[in-house]
Symmetry: C2
Subunit: 357 residues, 2 copies
């Protein structure tokens, strides 16, 4: 691909090869801040999903929200697990604390419902495999909610890499920092290792981790990591993490994430014959700024900001309606958890941890 051609039709949803009829009726399981502020508006604005049920521990408090988004059914968790109102939804979006993902995802699969599950898929490789198995058994679609895989600059970067525009990828740098206390209290479940499965690595580091695996189309075979916490309220989880992935090709990814630093994110790939840098790829609304160098050529691209969350729901809906296997599937979610477990083991042991890939 010539470099100029890479930017032709940049905003195109390259995954959208047809315009399917109908919509996927979604039960949103867990209505915390992200579901309220980002997911429900994105589903409402999008093309291929509609919210038909809310699942929450406090149905009474969710009535106003249901009314705001024209949702007729509000169910508590017991009712959801028991299969109440299963006729009103085709799929679930699981947005509860990480440790509870598996229970709800498996229940949904057992009810024959498709599953879009927030990342991480759950808090351990073993439990994540249970989710994959349940969805396989029920023959339903399972997508891990890696919204970045529906984002145009990231998708186009993969095209550029595939087409050899930067030669062989040699080194990647990825970072994502987000000061969690500006948006959540110190009691947030994200700082509870039992509920979250970890700290900044699990919540933020998973973005450069997954993006790197997505772009290289390959899993790491070795992981180094250093974690650090300065104390309350981060004493039980990693406040900051720096991890390094080694890939069988010899490529490395040097990634960082922080719960307690100036908000920023960045991704850069250095190849044998070029370089791609994306500004702020991980914040959810991506400014679509990237620089591509290939040999002596250099191009800067700035596009309209894209709401990744809307892209993500439309991609999920499209996959269900057209019986397409989503790229961020269950195996993708399991692979990230494998790397995350290795990273924590490395931070603990001071050793490079080998990962089966």
């Amino acid at each position: 691909m010539a470099l100029e051609d890479a930017f032709a039709g940049f905003r195109r949803r390259d995954w959208e090869r047809t315009t399917p009829d109908g919509t996927v009726r979604v039960a949103v399981v867990g209505v915390g801040g992200f579901a309220r502020n980002r997911a429900l508006p994105a589903i409402a604005a999008g093309d291929y999903c509609e919210t038909t049920a809310l699942v929450t521990g406090s149905p009474d408090r969710a009535r106003a929200l249901a009314s705001e988004f024209d949702v007729n059914h509000v169910v508590d968790y017991e009712g959801f697990l028991a299969g109440n109102h299963v006729a009103v939804y085709d799929a679930v979006y699981v947005a509860t604390p990480n440790a509870t993902h598996a229970e709800y995802a498996i229940a949904a699969a057992d009810h024959g419902k498709h599953v879009l599950c927030e990342k991480p898929l759950t808090t351990s490789v073993e439990r994540a495999r249970d989710v994959v198995d349940a969805c396989d058994r029920a023959d339903v679609t399972l997508m891990t909610a890696y919204r970045l895989q529906t984002e145009s600059t990231v998708r186009r970067t993969r095209d550029l890499v595939r087409d050899g525009v930067v030669g062989d990828v040699v080194q990647i740098h990825g970072s994502f920092s987000h000061p969690i206390l500006e948006h959540a209290g110190p009691d947030t479940w994200r700082l509870d290792p039992e509920m979250a499965g970890g700290g900044a690595l699990v919540d933020l580091g998973i973005y450069p981790l997954n993006t790197t695996r997505y772009l290289l189309e390959c899993d790491p075979d070795g992981v180094y990591a250093t974690t650090h916490s300065s104390g309350e309220p981060f004493e039980q989880v990693d406040e900051h993490v720096a991890f390094q992935l080694a890939f069988p090709s010899g490529a490395t990814a040097s990634c960082t994430a922080s719960f307690d630093a100036h908000a920023s994110s960045r991704l850069e790939l250095i190849g044998s014959d070029g370089r791609i840098a994306i500004s702020s790829p991980f914040g959810g609304v991506v400014p679509q700024e990237m620089v591509v160098e290939s040999g002596d050529l250099r191009m800067e691209y700035t596009g309209p900001p894209v709401d990744e969350v809307r892209e993500e729901f439309d991609y999920f809906g499209y996959c269900v309606l057209t019986d397409t296997d989503p790229e961020p599937d269950g195996a993708d979610g399991v692979a990230d958890l494998r790397a995350i477990e290795a990273a924590y083991e490395s931070a603990e042991s001071g050793r490079r941890i080998e990962v089966e890939c």
Copy 2:
């Protein structure tokens, strides 16, 4: 310091507090490509040094070069070691292959000459300490040629960090790649582990390593590294390296270097309350482009390109003329070698290597 003030008088040589009389007469020891193309012109263009002797293994072939730069004395290595023409120079600039730095630097010190020695100071911590001791004994100035420490964006970044503009530095990303075969043949001493002491880490990785230590004013206490070589002509040294430094504060630096990737360099500091990114800080001629974020403020600065090599020689000359201790001294060179040895040990053993700091 207010963010706006940081950019006032940006180009100022903050180290230049007086205008000393005279110049330092320099013998350039080793006249390879860098000395010919960068050092000799920089000395000629600068204020505080002049080249009065060339030391080379092939004096006859260096006559034209000597003539071009008005240098009256050309000495071979034996003559230099024996002290021939010591009266015509006050200082040496050692630009020979790394493994020979110590012999020439120590000889110069023994002749009572000041020493500007290319980085790395030599190829082992132990031997580097011999250089430091010799210069101490002779009471001469020893500067390790970390030109980046004389570069305005890097110096101003240290001021910003000191003044708390980005809060506590949490994570650093640094990268430097330079396709060596575009500028040297496969027989270059830089690919010979005996002469170079290593590969991309020693030659290029030392830039983000030293800059990080300079900016944090602190030494790492733990190092992880992964090296990779794809084969000829890199089979004996690291073609690519990714290393991670951990500092006692909890800060980390994720650094990469490559002998065989698209030319690029970058440095980014993420702090608890801000971020600083410098474009292309390590190439020698720095475009002086940086972004500083502090809380909600964001500033972009672009200044005139600065020839770091000229800055470096003027800084060295200034230090000698004013009897000022240079910041990049022998201890600085030893500290980097300590981290480099730890990095290679980590790459070999798959373990985090603790470093005394």
